[in-house]
């Protein structure tokens, strides 16, 4: 799809270096810009379904762009940090969504690679194969933070998790087709305003990071020991909440 080494027209003058992990770290600006493009696209999509009657063509084009970016991010060095799991698309969901939601602009400016990529378990292996819509659904809803958190902490039935993401995207496109009178209101009512609060974003990120470290050890046995990780994550969650409260 994207030939590495070619000059990208969008980002003027950026040279490209072959992608290794080290190389990846050495060219933060391209990935920074790609990330900012992704974030910009997500904001546009969210603004989309807050408008009165969103322009469907525009929404589709932006969503396709988001998918493109995510696909590239899976193909180049971005996900190489995780070598413990196969690249199931469903686990990709988690990676991508958390990445998007939890990376604050501050982090980006510093060029830090928040190791959130390593935080995810592959509890969804063995489930369905790649579905592009899931990638879309994980990033296009303002409700995803809430859903994601619940998914993270509970690590429950992967079908259900995916269902949450799908539901988010459903709501976006279905507001356009007028499924129920309350759809738009529901969408608005479920928007968690704290999503836009930097504190919440940072909080979520910190929690994820911490949890991730713990969970790395449970990777191999994840599929059969969901309940175990549930307990673990619950405990972690409490720890983190306490930490945050104490800090603030």
């Amino acid at each position: 799809m994207f030939v590495r080494g070619l000059k990208r027209k969008c980002f003027d003058g950026e040279e490209d270096i072959e992608g290794t992990l080290a190389g990846f770290k050495a060219i933060p600006s391209y990935n920074l810009q790609r990330q900012s493009l992704l974030d910009m696209s997500l904001v546009k999509l969210q603004l989309c379904h807050m408008l009165v009657e969103p322009n469907l063509c525009r929404s589709v084009l932006i969503a396709n762009t988001v998918r493109q970016i995510q696909e590239e991010m899976t193909q180049d060095g971005t996900w190489q940090m995780i070598n413990t799991q196969s690249a199931g698309q469903t686990s990709l969901d988690r990676l991508v969504s958390t990445d998007i939601l939890c990376r604050s602009s501050k982090e980006q400016a510093e060029g830090k690679l928040v190791p959130v990529y390593s935080t995810f378990t592959k509890d969804c292996e063995g489930t369905q194969s790649q579905d592009n819509s899931e990638i879309m659904s994980t990033v296009t809803s303002p409700q995803v933070p809430k859903n994601l958190q619940s998914n993270m902490w509970e690590m429950e039935n992967p079908q259900e998790n995916r269902g949450n993401f799908q539901k988010s995207l459903d709501q976006i496109f279905e507001t356009l087709e007028n499924k129920s009178p309350n759809t738009v209101e529901d969408l608005f009512s479920e928007v968690d305003n704290s999503y836009y609060d930097l504190d919440t974003v940072l909080t979520g990120m910190m929690s994820n990071t911490k949890m991730g470290h713990c969970d790395l050890e449970t990777f191999p046995s994840q599929t059969s020991t969901n309940s175990k990780s549930n307990c673990k994550s619950d405990l972690n969650e409490l720890d983190h909440i306490v930490e945050i409260l104490v800090e603030s």
Binding site: M40, V52, E53, C57, V60, L61, Q68, F173
Partner: protein, 472 residues
């Protein structure tokens, strides 16, 4: 190039039909260019200036070019009529004056979705004239209307049951009967809605197209195309449906559609992925399978995250001959031969200097602007708009192109409308404008070309410019 300027005249101002503000139907600028010039077109300009809310959203000449219709964001339609040639005032030939104005669509509220339906006129299409009256279709996002525009220069007088003021008379007071007679009156142009085609589109209508049989027309929204009979308003046939069963899988929408100018069974529609499908309605009732599929292979060296967005086709138009189709995407205009599906036969760069600015244009949403494109009467020249009130013309035969500007600042009486140039490199010449100085809020999305003469109408936000060549 020798530029001869002929006499200009300042006409009296005319009141704007809606706001009462004064229009300036002023300036005639005549630019007479000799044939050595880059572009053998003379332009004679009329400017109609509206008040700020009347952003023009569509422009269309009728089949003879006698009438020019504009639709605006406020749901109004203004029709201009070409003045007849007169020996007394030869320089007034070809001027367009306001003929009729009416409110076509009103804002509506969809209670089911709790959403407003804009009254903005997306498209106007004329029907060919079959009697003394004129008929046009106008559409907003959801509803198509057929309007009849007719002249009235007589009125009946001498009714029995009502008096001259229209008040009903007491029947018991009537002692004798009379036959009403028609008496002349001042010419009045009235527009009446003859048909309302509603409730057939879930998504936003982007195109309407009158069929060459003059009995049917189609309306296209983001996901579906419907076929209508002019006489039947409560029913339409769905002929294209690209809505996926699962809306999550939606990756492509319909962006424009048009009937073939001669073959009433053939139409094309374009998509947001840069493809064009030609369909034959004889093949099946639901034209989900195209007869032809036009797509240009992607240039890998130009690939970026914006490739798909800029490949989205914003307009598709058949040539008058019916042999070619023209498509407009964000940076180019392409001409396709109906017999060759794998690539266009001609590609014209409209404003390639924007290619390095796509990121910013994505950020400010300009990348989603939908520019239209038009053929001239002989299919030899194509025209499309750009930013900074620039519009471009491409001569298909000579391969020459020109950039012109629709701007009042540059249009003093006697002023010469000269070709503009955008400077991309470092050194900017005196008359050039640099890419960074372009005003992206001044976009020319809608233009129209007279069916047989070199008269063009250019909509620049809320101003309508009419340019004309002057035959010696």
């Amino acid at each position: 190039e020798a530029l001869v300027v002929s006499t200009a005249h300042l006409e009296g101002s005319e009141k704007h039909p809606y706001s009462g503000q004064h229009l300036s139907t002023c300036f005639s600028l005549s630019i007479h260019m000799t044939s050595e010039c880059l572009y053998p077109m003379y332009v004679h300009i009329h400017t109609y200036k509206g008040c700020t809310s009347d952003i023009i959203s569509t422009v269309e000449f009728n089949h003879t070019g006698e009438l020019l219709a504009t639709g605006d964001k406020g749901g109004r339609v203004v029709i201009f009529q070409r003045e007849q040639e007169s020996k007394n005032q030869p320089h007034r030939r070809g001027e367009y004056n306001v003929y009729s104005t009416f409110q076509s669509h009103e804002p509506e509220f969809d209670y089911l979705k709790s959403l407003e339906i804009e009254e903005k006129i997306n498209k106007i299409r004329w029907l060919p004239q079959q009697n003394a009256a004129y008929f046009l279709l106008s559409t907003n996002d959801k509803t198509v209307k057929l309007w009849k525009v007719s002249e009235r220069d007589k009125r009946p007088e001498g009714y029995n049951l009502k008096d001259e003021d229209g008040r009903l008379r007491d029947p018991s007071m009537i002692t004798m009967l009379r036959v009403p007679v028609l008496r002349p009156m001042d010419l009045m142009v009235e527009a009446t809605p003859r048909r309302v085609f509603a409730n057939a589109h879930t998504y936003h209508i982007n195109s309407i197209s009158v069929n060459s049989d003059y009995e049917t027309y189609m309306s296209a929204d983001d996901l579906r195309i419907n076929l209508w009979n002019f006489e039947i308003t409560n029913q339409s046939f769905n002929i294209v449906d690209i809505k996926p069963a699962n809306m999550e899988e939606l990756t492509e929408v319909i962006t424009a559609a048009e009937f073939h100018p001669h073959h009433c069974n053939t139409f094309v529609y374009s998509s947001s992925k840069g493809t064009i499908r030609l369909c034959d309605m004889r093949a099946s009732a639901l034209c989900d399978r195209h007869s032809k599929f036009f797509e240009e292979p992607e240039d890998p060296s130009n690939r970026s995250f914006f490739s798909e967005i800029i490949s989205s086709i914003s307009d598709v138009k058949f040539s008058h001959s019916g042999r070619y189709i023209m498509t407009r995407d964000y940076l180019t205009v392409k001409v396709w031969d109906l017999n060759m599906e794998n690539r266009p036969i001609e590609t014209y760069q409209v404003h390639d200097y924007l290619r390095s600015k796509l990121c910013s244009l994505y950020e400010n949403d300009c990348i989603f602007d939908k520019f239209e494109c038009v053929w001239n009467g002989s299919d030899s020249v194509i025209m499309t708009g750009s930013y900074n009130n620039f519009f471009r013309m491409f001569d298909r035969n000579t391969k020459r192109d020109v950039t012109l500007e629709a701007s009042r600042e540059n249009s003093k009486p006697r002023a010469i409308l000269k070709p503009r140039k955008v400077c991309v490199g470092g050194k900017r010449r005196k008359d050039e404008i640099s890419v960074d100085s372009l005003d992206f809020s001044k976009k020319i999305l809608h233009t129209a070309w007279h069916p047989s003469e070199n008269i063009i109408a250019v909509a620049a936000t809320n101003n309508l410019y009419i340019f004309q060549d002057k035959v010696n």
